[in-house]
């Protein structure tokens, strides 16, 4: 059986966030907030631009409104960051391929910035509860959930600093076009071929194609490449208890299913061959 890296479900950015929380002094309050988070008191979390809005069920009937945000980078700061990114193709390549580049933090550090806040006090927050302390347990409960959100969609981090992934990608392209001299090619006016019903050369009723040779003999696959490429499902503790373990159970099961399906399909193919 394939050995999945279950560590990958705790990517560094989530871990960084949790470390940040651990550095907080008032451990008791944090503990209560963690329970709040686990018991499902955080009803919703929404990202609206650089701001996070959440609804947390407190002791009142009406849930409290929590909002929090980081200090967004200025346009100028972003410009430096993106210029640094453009020095190495790996950033654009990974972002375009749907991955968070592993060394993304370097880009910010080089410009004297940090993608992550160094202390919790950098995280601005507000809660509609009567508790004066900040963070109150509602806000802290949202903190816990955010760590998981980062592992689900790491690009949320960019958003909190004022840029979406696509904005970054666009900016990178703009930069490339500014840096490179484009030799304008004579633009051909040929339009893309239209694939209309009647133009594709088939007849209305007929199908005279032989079966493709590679589909004649169906061979079973030896391993489930798909699961290997995907790695473990990035489950978070608030969604399923003991997330790492649950993820392992699910991946193990899926792997068994994939093997079973491949074998059965192969047998079905063989049987039809024999008939």
């Amino acid at each position: 059986m394939t050995n999945f890296s279950f560590q990958s479900s705790r990517e560094w950015w989530s871990q960084r966030w949790l470390d940040l929380l651990d550095s907080y002094r008032f451990k008791k309050r944090l503990e209560r907030a963690r329970n709040y988070s686990r018991q499902g008191n955080v009803l919703s979390i929404q990202f609206e631009g650089a701001k996070v809005s959440a609804r947390v069920q407190g002791t009142e009937v009406e849930p409290y409104q929590v909002s929090l945000f980081l200090e967004p980078f200025t346009d100028e700061q972003w410009q430096y960051v993106i210029e640094t990114m453009s020095q190495r193709a790996i950033f654009a390549a990974k972002l375009l391929a749907g991955e968070m580049p592993p060394n993304i933090e370097e880009v910010f550090t080089l410009n004297g910035l940090s993608l992550f806040p160094f202390t919790l006090s950098e995280v601005r927050s507000k809660c509609s509860c009567p508790d004066k302390a900040n963070p109150c347990k509602h806000i802290a409960a949202v903190y816990y959930q955010l760590g998981d959100r980062f592992s689900e969609d790491p690009f949320v981090l960019f958003q909190l600093r004022g840029r979406t992934k696509n904005q970054i990608i666009d900016a990178l392209r703009e930069l490339r076009s500014a840096h490179q001299v484009v030799n304008p090619e004579p633009l051909s006016l040929q339009s893309a071929p239209q694939t209309s019903l009647n133009a594709n050369g088939t007849s209305f009723w007929h199908y005279r194609e032989p079966l493709e040779s590679n589909l004649v003999v169906i061979a079973p696959s030896t391993s489930s490449d798909v699961l290997e490429i995907l790695g473990a499902i990035p489950l978070s503790n608030d969604l399923a208890e003991n997330a790492d373990n649950s993820s392992e159970v699910v991946m193990h099961y899926l792997n068994v299913v994939y093997q079973q399906v491949a074998q059965q399909a192969f047998l079905v193919a063989m049987n039809t061959e024999a008939s």
Binding site: L96, R176, V261
Partner: protein
């Protein structure tokens, strides 16, 4: 006459199947939009019960559905629909299909064009028609489609529409996806409900291009279905790709659930538990807390995101590609990046050009690359996950390539390249390193064969003189070079500037080869022939990677693989008649193969004169004085007489002997008699019985006429024939032997024993892949293997057969059975005495009556004896011959008319032929009602799958008929009036006839039929005067003349039971 159609209905998530039939549209009362040619449930039910064309599994599925339908529609019990999990039927809510429709502006009517009659040239417009049919739920649909035969349709099994064949191929693809684990579990939200399902994953280049290919060849009808609610406009609600994906996802989902049925997913916390549950059971609904499910859906989305990129990558028109360059000087390989057109691997844009085009759309050589840099970078990002060196190179700003060590390069070729292609990336390897699967780039032998070794007798097993060299990737290697390469101890080596892969296993094989004794190496003519037809061969475990024939052998090879290249021989002087050019080629070809002792199969269409080509061949042999021994010709009993007659007519120099009948010679007398002849003709039936006597003769050749008679290799006659020794072997057959694999094997194995391998091997290697899956590679391979031994020309091939007359008359002489002979003699003896005593009108009447009786006996004793069915077909030589010829005609896709002057014979013949040929057969005679008559003619002429044979009584068939679709006319019994027969023949040969017409006139040998035929033929002019008035002239003959005319020639009696 029935064609099953079907289509995947994405909206309903089911396969819709319906039957198309043919009926004359005149008498149909149909409501306006109902498709008039769709089968009713009753018709479909009847077809399913009667026809065994559809495979058992598929048939049973439809039957079950029909039974449920009957309940639903008769009982009007809607509840049942919901209670049935697997097979829900709604026959009342039928879809509409936009079909090619012919509109008659004058009559204001419109009718859909039958699918088999449709051609793109037809003048049509699309119009919606309501179609009644069956709905198959996904699981049933999968089982139905995967049981259908995958091969290309033959004439007789075109009961499957192109649309259903298309879906059966796509279903095969879904099975392939399952076996390759190309699937993903998903969780989808629609409104407030969550559903878990499995979907297909088309991330590899193979599947992406398959999707495009299937979308391109999808029959248009698949996009013409509309549910009732929809506007019936002409644009399809979904694209071909969407329809295909909907089908694949549904097939994959239903298959996985079927496989997992009964298993329990592990105990995971909620909502994972509920999700896994819903992925394994029949119910897709996930019952858990909605907001948790929403979260899970987001998690799964993030989890599969990288694959989404791959899928998009695989579908886009350009993909990032990686071209491996061998080292130029140092030991450093280069992997260069670029973009490659998805539909043309040759079209590659290099990285430097891409970096200078930061544009949204880049038009280059009529191609548009959307977001070239993003597409390129995306591919690089994907590749960096799989191959470290690529990732490292991306630290540059504008990466264009990376360098690889020899080991990395080998790793790339061996394991990374396949993963790249499987993930939708392009890979270009040096030609000498590509194609790891085949032998082209493997270490092997290069063989150059010169001449056959000196031998007395040449044949397939004759050994050749040849030279060999070690070769790899198109480069030859000396032993010293090979040893040097081995010491390099590297998997990639360079030979003369070409890099090739040297596998350790191949090195061992080669070392063993060098250690073995070379003088034991042998190569036969058969090996050479296989090699030049593209077959693979291994000598001492080393594959032959290159083969070349020179000198005399090259001439032989090219003549064998291209029969046009064979030198034409002059027509033998003693040949009485004229040979058409293609016939000269035919007999020259026979002589050529005979010279090399190779068995030949002449498989020309019926009517092209196989007989005279063979006679010319025999005469040529005789003139060359190579006939040392007699030749044995084996044919069906029904044509024995015909053969003897033809040989005497065209090759009177040949001494021919008929070995048959109860007076045939045996033992020493037989051997003595045989020695005096050139050609001995006997029947298949006698081969087994007289095998001892036949074995004791040394034969020059053995020739099988209608060689399909040995198609069953287990049959006694087939086995006996194989026991006879001879210098050459020839098979003559008119059936398209290449399409009937069992027959092909049997005939080839008789001609050239062992050439196609043992029967079981042949079955496994060729018959199954071709018949079950229509595997084109196997078919091509088989065709090229047998091509040297089969010469087949078809009568429609005007290029070769330019001078064929449009109407050809052939007289078929058929023997008579002992039953016929006995009855015939009795009737003649009894009647002649009475006629002698009678006079005037009474005498004339008696003679005419006698003629009728004799004709009836010649047809079949059952007709004369007024039996109600044909129980003993072998009692009539004419009937045996008719069935043989009809089988041959049907196998060529031809259509035939059979004329008889006796309605009662037609009544006997129709059910018999129907049962014998398993085809519907029409019979049109005096009592056929006008309506039936019109319908028969309409169906015969227009129904694309109408009955291919029509029997007509000569009187009924006389007037006002137009049956130009037939190209064979059989005159089973004779009117002795050429004018009447010609008039009948002209039903077929009319304006509008585009094909050559063969007119077969049956004559019963040894009877009055033959005598009158000869009279007519020898004095045609006179005969037309005499005979002009019908058969009256016969009544004027005196008793002696009459006796001479009627006396039976007992030599014509074919009696297989006589010892």
């Amino acid at each position: 006459m029935t064609i099953l159609h079907g289509n995947w209905l994405a909206e309903k998530n089911c396969l819709f199947v319906w039957g198309e039939t043919w009926r004359s549209l005149g008498g149909i009362e149909a409501s306006l939009d109902d498709h008039p040619l769709v089968m009713t449930p009753a018709e479909l039910d009847e077809w399913l019960r009667k026809s065994d064309l559809l495979p058992q599994v598929s048939r049973n599925l439809l039957k079950t559905l029909l039974e449920d339908t009957a309940v639903v529609s008769s009982g009007r019990n809607r509840k049942r629909k919901n209670s049935q999990a697997n097979s829900v039927v709604e026959i009342e809510r039928s879809p509409c299909v936009l079909l090619p429709t012919y509109s008659d502006k004058q009559e204001g009517s419109a009718y859909p064009i039958h699918s088999a009659a449709f051609s793109l040239e037809s003048n049509y417009s699309l119009k919606p028609w309501r179609v009644q049919g069956l709905y198959l739920e996904p699981l049933a649909a999968f089982q139905f489609l995967t049981s259908l035969p995958l091969g290309t349709a033959h004439q007789e099994d075109e009961y499957l529409g192109g649309d259903l064949r298309f879906w059966s191929h796509v279903a095969r693809w879904s099975l392939d996806l399952l076996s390759r684990c190309k699937l993903l579990p998903t969780l989808n939200q629609s409104d407030d409900a969550f559903a878990a399902s499995w979907r297909s994953l088309l991330d590899s280049a193979v599947d992406a291009s398959r999707l495009e290919k299937f979308a391109k060849v999808m029959p248009e009808v698949c996009l013409a279905y509309r549910s009732e609610e929809e506007q019936l406009n002409s644009t399809s609600p979904s694209s071909p790709q969407e329809l295909l994906l909907s089908f694949l996802d549904s097939m994959i989902d239903t298959q996985i659930r079927a496989i997992l049925a009964g298993t329990t997913p592990p105990n995971a916390p909620s909502p994972l538990r509920e999700w896994l549950q819903a992925l394994t059971t029949q119910d897709q609904k996930v019952k858990a807390v909605p907001n948790q499910l929403e979260r899970l859906a987001a998690v799964l989305n993030a989890w599969t995101a990288p694959l989404q990129y791959q899928i998009n990558q695989a579908r886009s028109s350009f993909r990032t590609c990686f071209r491996l360059h061998p080292p130029e000087t140092a030991n450093e390989w280069t992997l260069a990046y670029g973009l490659q057109a998805a539909n043309d691997a040759e079209f590659v844009v290099d990285a430097a050009s891409i970096w200078s085009h930061p544009v949204e759309e880049w038009v280059i050589s009529d191609r548009t690359i959307v977001e070239p840099q993003e597409t390129f970078l995306k591919g690089l990002g994907l590749a960096s996950r799989m191959f470290g060196p690529v990732g490292a190179s991306l630290e540059q700003q504008y990466p264009t390539s990376c360098h690889l060590t020899p080991l990395e390069a080998y790793d790339f070729i061996k394991s990374i390249a396949p993963r790249f292609t499987d993930s939708g990336l392009g890979v270009i390897l040096p030609p000498s390193l590509a194609e790891r699967e085949g032998w082209a780039n493997r270490l092997g032998l290069k063989i150059r064969a010169v001449t056959p070794r000196k031998q007395k007798e040449l044949g397939l097993q004759s050994l050749l003189n040849f030279e060999w060299e070690l070769a790899i990737g198109g480069q030859t290697l000396s032993k010293a070079e090979f040893d040097r390469l081995v010491t390099l101890n590297s998997p990639l080596v360079e030979i003369n500037g070409e890099w090739v892969e040297l596998r350790s296993q191949d090195i061992k094989t080669a070392q063993t080869f060098f250690a073995s004794r070379k003088e034991k190496l042998s190569l036969s003519l058969e090996d050479a022939l296989r090699l030049s037809t593209g077959d693979s061969l291994v000598i001492e475990k080393l594959p032959v990677v290159n083969f070349e024939a020179t000198g005399a052998l090259q001439e032989l090879m090219s003549a064998l693989t291209n029969n046009q290249a064979i030198a034409l021989l002059p027509t033998p002087k003693s040949f009485q008649g004229e040979l058409r050019p293609y016939q000269v080629r035919g007999f020259s070809w026979l002589a050529f193969l005979e010279r090399w002792n190779l068995g030949a199969c002449l498989a020309d269409d019926m009517g092209l004169g196989k007989t005279i080509q063979f006679i010319a061949f025999m005469l040529y042999q005789k003139e060359q004085e190579v006939l040392e021994n007699p030749t044995l010709l084996v044919c069906p009993t029904s044509v024995l007489g015909n053969w003897e007659r033809e040989v005497k007519k065209f090759g009177p120099q040949l001494k021919v002997m008929l070995h048959h009948g109860d007076k045939r010679s045996k033992g020493k007398a037989f051997i003595a008699a045989v020695r005096k002849h050139d050609l001995v003709i006997t029947s298949y039936a006698l081969i087994h019985r007289d095998v001892k006597d036949l074995q004791s003769v040394t034969w020059q050749g053995i020739v099988l006429d209608e060689a399909q008679n040995i198609k069953n290799p287990e049959a006694k006659q087939s086995q006996s024939i194989r026991q006879l020794e001879s210098a050459f072997r020839i098979a003559l057959t008119g059936t398209p032997v290449e399409n009937r694999l069992q027959e092909l094997w049997s005939i080839l194995d008789f001609l050239n024993p062992g050439y196609l391998g043992a029967r079981q091997f042949f079955q496994r290697r060729f018959a199954m892949p071709i018949e079950r899956y229509g595997d084109v590679d196997s078919l091509t391979q088989l065709r090229s293997l047998v091509q040297p031994f089969i010469l087949r020309r078809v009568k429609t091939d005007r290029d070769i057969i330019q001078d064929l007359p449009e109407k050809q008359e052939i007289t078929e002489f058929c023997g008579i059975s002992s039953e016929q002979a006995t009855l015939y003699q009795q009737v003649v003896e009894n009647s002649l005495a009475e006629i002698d005593a009678a006079e005037g009108l009474q005498r004339r009447g008696m003679i005419l009556g006698l003629l009728v009786k004799l004709k009836q006996i010649c047809n079949h004793p059952a007709q004369f004896l007024k039996q109600n069915k044909i129980a003993e077909p072998h009692q009539s030589g004419k009937l045996l011959r008719l069935v043989e010829m009809l089988e041959e005609a049907l196998s060529e896709g031809d259509r035939a008319l059979i004329f008889t002057q006796f309605a009662e014979w037609g009544k006997l013949l129709q059910p018999y032929l129907q049962q014998q040929l398993q085809r519907e057969i029409f019979f049109l005679y005096g009592s056929t009602s006008k309506k039936q008559r019109e319908e028969m003619i309409d169906r015969f002429q227009h129904d694309p799958q109408g009955p291919p044979i029509m029997i007509l009584s000569l009187k009924a068939g006389g007037v006002g008929l137009n049956l130009t679709r037939a190209n064979h006319v059989f005159h089973f019994d004779r009117w002795w009036n050429p004018a009447v027969e010609n008039q009948a023949t002209d039903r077929v040969f009319r304006i509008g006839q585009t094909r050559n017409v063969l007119v077969h006139k049956f004559v019963c040998s040894g009877t009055l039929e033959e005598k009158i035929h000869e009279m007519i033929e020898s004095k045609k002019a006179l005969a037309e005067q005499v005979v002009g008035a019908g058969e009256q002239w016969l009544t004027e003959l005196d008793t002696n003349q009459l006796r001479n005319l009627l006396v039976l020639d007992r030599n014509a009696v074919i009696d297989e039971d006589a010892e």
